[in-house]
């Protein structure tokens, strides 16, 4: 019997090596696998490269605490700076955290490409800008494009709404965001799921991520992300 469920976050995080590239889902707090990030702090892997949209806010949330451990070498993201991104700002300024800034759509496509076996693709985004400097460019049908390479992870950390024992997943509303593509692009995909359901309960046309992409599922019924009626970024 296929059963990807594990009993604890500690078990879910086993075997993550130093030097790993870790993809994480979420757009701000929504769909962000904060409990797995906490688990990564506990687990202790260092010299990490993180890949996600944001670099965290404030000083309390797990992503920020992970940065503060000094075990992250580099972060690849589109929106590191927000009104509350104090820890990222400090560490980056002090030269303790490398940043690769990537336009959000290029970031998403580079991750999708890794999951889809596409090593590189051309995109018009960022051509002629500072973020395109040093990148290979090419004219195709009269328009200029940049060559962008896939970003593959050793580990993907994903937050799902429902999961079954095969690892089939659904995501809730805008909690979907980066999670489905992160799940496709890593050797080891670990999921924290709000609800564990019986196999077959999700249904063949309602599954957002087929279980084929998932290695481990841990039940984390933490409830709702913090509401954010005021824009932060």
């Amino acid at each position: 019997m296929i059963d990807k469920r594990v009993k604890s976050i500690a078990e879910a995080m086993q075997g993550i090596k130093d030097g790993s590239t870790v993809l994480f889902g979420g757009f701000g707090a929504v769909g962000h696998p904060s409990h797995l990030i906490d688990g990564l702090i506990e687990q202790g892997a260092k010299d990490l490269t993180l890949v996600g949209n944001n670099a965290g806010s404030g000083r309390v949330e797990p992503l920020v605490r992970l940065l503060a451990t000094g075990r992250v070498r580099k972060i690849i993201c589109s929106f590191p700076r927000s009104s509350g991104s104090v820890v990222f700002d400090e560490m980056h300024k002090a030269g303790k955290l490398e940043l690769e800034l990537v336009p959000q759509g290029t970031l998403a496509e580079r991750i999708r490409a890794a999951g889809a076996g596409i090593p590189a693709f051309y995109t018009p985004t960022a051509y002629g800008t500072a973020l395109g400097e040093g990148k290979e460019s090419r004219e195709i049908n009269g328009r200029m494009y940049l060559l962008e390479y896939a970003i593959r992870g050793d580990v993907a950390l994903v937050e799902a709404w429902q999961a079954d024992r095969w690892g089939n997943l659904t995501f809730k509303l805008s909690g979907r965001n980066f999670n489905p593509i992160m799940a496709t692009a890593a050797e080891l995909t670990i999921v924290q799921a709000q609800h564990i359901v019986e196999l077959g309960e999700i249904g063949p046309e309602a599954t957002h991520t087929p279980g084929v992409y998932v290695n481990r599922v841990v039940h984390v019924p933490y409830g709702d992300p913090a509401p954010a009626l005021v824009a932060t970024a």
Partner: protein
């Protein structure tokens, strides 16, 4: 920028600049029913308040097609946020996709219009809106570069000059670019301008404003838009 900016200093006088809601309403007037529109954070978001009575579909790059207004406290759904991470509603007919599919929609030219704020817009359509410095502090880019090159058309909404009175409409941008030759129209508190083959063309001006006064606030040559 300092060389051209000198022409644009000096306070505007003898007319009434448009307020932000008026700017947003003026822009909204030009959105036909049925368009799919992505609104940037800030002033652009105000535009959604002024399309009542027309079906316009608002896309949010985090994967929402058919975004409604901000949530009221009594209708809180914390699993729905817009690109600015504010809690928003869905309209009837809305759908959700993941980030790669959302930017496929954006990059693939399926968004009729993107509205962004900007620091600077050049007369050839170049614009700068993502960072004022590549060396001072940490920049963030988000989806601006993807939206700027991907949407069918890009309109900028911004104040005509900076807070310290410097021109934001220029011959050439001085700040790091977001995209090249991307902007087709600019809505400011003073005017509506098309970016034409020969530069800025004034479509509309705030009541009481003269071309001369507008030109004085602008660091690129203006001409009147020819009647259609």
């Amino acid at each position: 920028m300092t060389t051209t900016a000198a022409r644009a200093t000096g306070a505007a006088e003898g007319f009434k600049p448009w307020t932000r809601p008026e700017m947003a309403a003026r822009l909204a007037r030009d959105i036909p029913e049925g368009w799919c529109v992505n609104l940037g954070i800030g002033i652009p978001l105000l535009v959604s308040n002024f399309v009542k009575g027309r079906e316009v579909i608002f896309q949010s790059e985090n994967g929402i097609i058919g975004m409604g207004g901000l949530q009221k406290p009594e209708e809180l759904e914390p699993w729905l946020v817009n690109a600015g991470k504010q809690n928003v509603n869905l309209v009837t007919g809305a759908s959700i996709v993941h980030h790669a599919d959302s930017f496929a929609m954006i990059r693939g030219g399926h968004i009729d219009l993107c509205v962004l704020g900007a620091f600077e817009v050049a007369e050839n359509g170049d614009f700068a809106n993502w960072t004022t410095s590549l060396t001072d502090g940490v920049p963030a880019v988000g989806g601006a570069m993807d939206l700027a090159v991907g949407a069918k058309r890009l309109w900028v909404i911004m104040d005509h000059t900076s807070k310290d009175g410097r021109a934001k409409l220029l011959e050439h941008c001085a700040l790091p670019l977001t995209a090249l030759k991307a902007v087709s129209r600019v809505y400011t508190n003073l005017a509506v301008l098309d970016v034409g083959p020969q530069g800025f063309e004034v479509v509309d001006m705030a009541p009481g404003l003269s071309m001369e006064a507008l030109q004085a606030q602008t660091a690129a040559k203006l001409k009147r838009k020819a009647a259609a």
